[in-house]
C-alpha cells in the first residue's frame, strides 16, 4: 500500500511578476526525503516559495494534506547582525528544544546566536526545523555555509536521527541529494 501524500504539486508554474519555474509535477509521501535537483537559477527555491506562499502560482495546483504543519528552512535564514537570542531560545521557538539535539548542535545552544559562525547558525536553524513537530520540513539549500564535516553531520542527522521524517530538500549539490534522498525530481526553468 502506498503511503499518504502530504504535498501534491500538479503542473505548477511559479514565479513572481513572470513565471520562473515549471511546469513541475511531484508528490511528497509521508516518511520520504524527496530532493529537488537543478542548476543555479532553475527555480528550485521559487518552487519552495510557492509552497510557503511567497511566490505566485501561474498555472497548476499545489495541495497540502489538511491539518499538517510545515517548517521551512530558508536558503538565507534571517540573522540580525546583533541578536541576544541564545541557541536554546531559537530552537525553543519551533518546539525543537523538546528533542535531544545531536552533540554538534547541543554545544551551540548556550551562547548568543550572533556569536556563531554562518555555518553554525545554519545548522542550528536546520535543527530548529527538523526538531520541530512539523509533519513536512522544507530545506532550501541546507548545505550553504557548511564545511564538509558539518555536511556529513547533517547527512547523518537526516538519515539516522531523523529517519522517517517527511522532507523536501532543494540543493544544487548532487552528492548531498544522493546521500539523503529516497527520490529525486529534476527542476528546470
Amino acid at each position: 500500500m502506498k503511503s499518504e501524500a502530504l504535498l501534491r504539486c500538479h503542473g505548477v508554474v511559479a514565479g513572481y511578476e513572470h513565471p520562473v519555474v515549471g511546469p513541475v509535477t511531484f508528490e511528497l509521501f509521508r516518511g520520504e526525503v524527496l530532493g529537488l535537483l537543478g542548476s543555479n537559477g532553475a527555480g528550485k527555491s521559487t518552487l519552495i516559495k510557492a509552497i510557503t506562499g511567497h511566490a505566485r502560482i501561474f498555472r497548476g495546483r499545489l495541495e497540502t494534506a489538511p491539518g499538517i504543519e510545515l517548517a521551512h528552512h530558508r536558503q538565507q535564514p534571517v540573522r540580525p547582525a546583533e541578536c541576544p537570542l541564545s541557541g536554546h531560545d531559537l530552537v525553543t521557538l519551533t518546539g525543537a528544544s523538546r528533542q535531544t539535539p545531536p552533540p554538534q548542535i547541543a554545544r551551540l545552544l548556550d551562547g548568543r546566536v550572533d556569536q556563531l559562525s554562518g555555518g553554525q547558525f545554519q545548522i542550528l536553524q536546520i535543527w530548529a526545523c527538523l526538531g520541530s513537530g512539523a509533519e513536512v520540513v522544507l530545506l532550501d539549500e541546507p548545505t550553504n555555509n557548511l564545511d564538509p564535516a558539518t555536511v556529513e553531520a547533517l547527512v547523518n542527522l537526516i538519515r539516522k536521527d531523523q529517519a522517517g521524517r517527511t522532507i523536501l530538500v532543494v540543493s544544487h549539490e548532487a552528492s548531498f541529494i544522493d546521500a539523503i534522498c529516497s527520490r529525486v525530481v529534476s527542476v528546470s526553468a
Binding site: A71, E82, R107, L138, D147
Partner: protein
Amino acid sequence: MLELLFDPLFRLPFITGLLLAPVAAIAGVYLRLREEWLAALAYAQVAAAGAVVAVVLHAPVMLGALAAAGLVATVKGLLANPGNHHFVIFILLGWGVALVAGSFSAHGEMVGQSLMDGQLYFTGQAHLLGALALLVIGTLCMSWLSQRLLMDRFFPDYFSANGIPAWRHRVAFDWLVVAIVAVATTAFGVMAAFALLFIPAWVAWGVAQGWRNVLIIAAGLAVVAYVIAFVVAVAVDQPFGPMLVLILCATALLRFARRGVRSASPSAAPARAPSVAPEAAHRK
C-alpha cells in the same frame, strides 16, 4: 527638598511612571526585534501632535494622542515595506503639525511646550489608569505576542506556509505600542517616552545573553533610571523629562563597558563555538 518625594501630590505621577517605565522598555525590546525602533519616536512625535490638536479642538488630550499615533500605525501597516525613512516622515509631520496646531490657541501652545519639556508632575488619574491597564494587558498578552513576534522575525514563512494569519499579532502589537507611547508621551513628554522605549532595549540587546534576560535587563534598567531621575529631578528642582533622558543616556555606557570587558578578556577572543565534532576534525 527630598521630603517632596513623599508629598501626596507626587505620589500619583511617581506610581504612574513606575508602572509605565518597564512596560515601555519591554515594548522597545520588541520594536528593536522588528527593526522598528525609530517608530517609537515617530509615534511619540505624532502622539504629541494629536494631543495639541485635541486641545485646540477641546477634545481629551490622551484621546487625541491615541488617535494620531493609531492613525500612523495604521498607515505603517498598509505600507508594503515600512522602514526608517517612513518613520522619519512621520516624525517631521508630527513636529510640524504640533507647532502649527499650537499656534491656534494659547492652551494648545502650552500643552505642546510641556510635551516637549517633559513634565511628569502634570500627569493625572487617566494616566495612572492607562498605565495600569497597559501593564495588565501587556502581561496577559506577552506570552501569545512574544512567541509570534519571534517566529515572525526568525521563521517569517511559518505563518504563510501554514495558512495562519500574521496580521493579528502584528496589528495587536502595533496598537499595544501605540497605546503605550500615547500614554508615555502625554505623561513624560516626547523625548523621555522615546528614550524609555529605545535606550533600555538597546543596552539589554547588547549585553544580555538569552531572550528572558533581555526583557529582565531592559525592564530593570528602565525602572532604576526612572526612580533615579524622579529623585534627582525633585531634589534639584529640574524638569523630569530631560533628567530621565540624561540618566538613560548615562546607562548606555553599560553597553560599551560590557563590550570593553569582552574585548579585553583573553577568553573572549575565540568567541565562536567549535564548528565540527572533534572526531570529524581529526579526519580532516
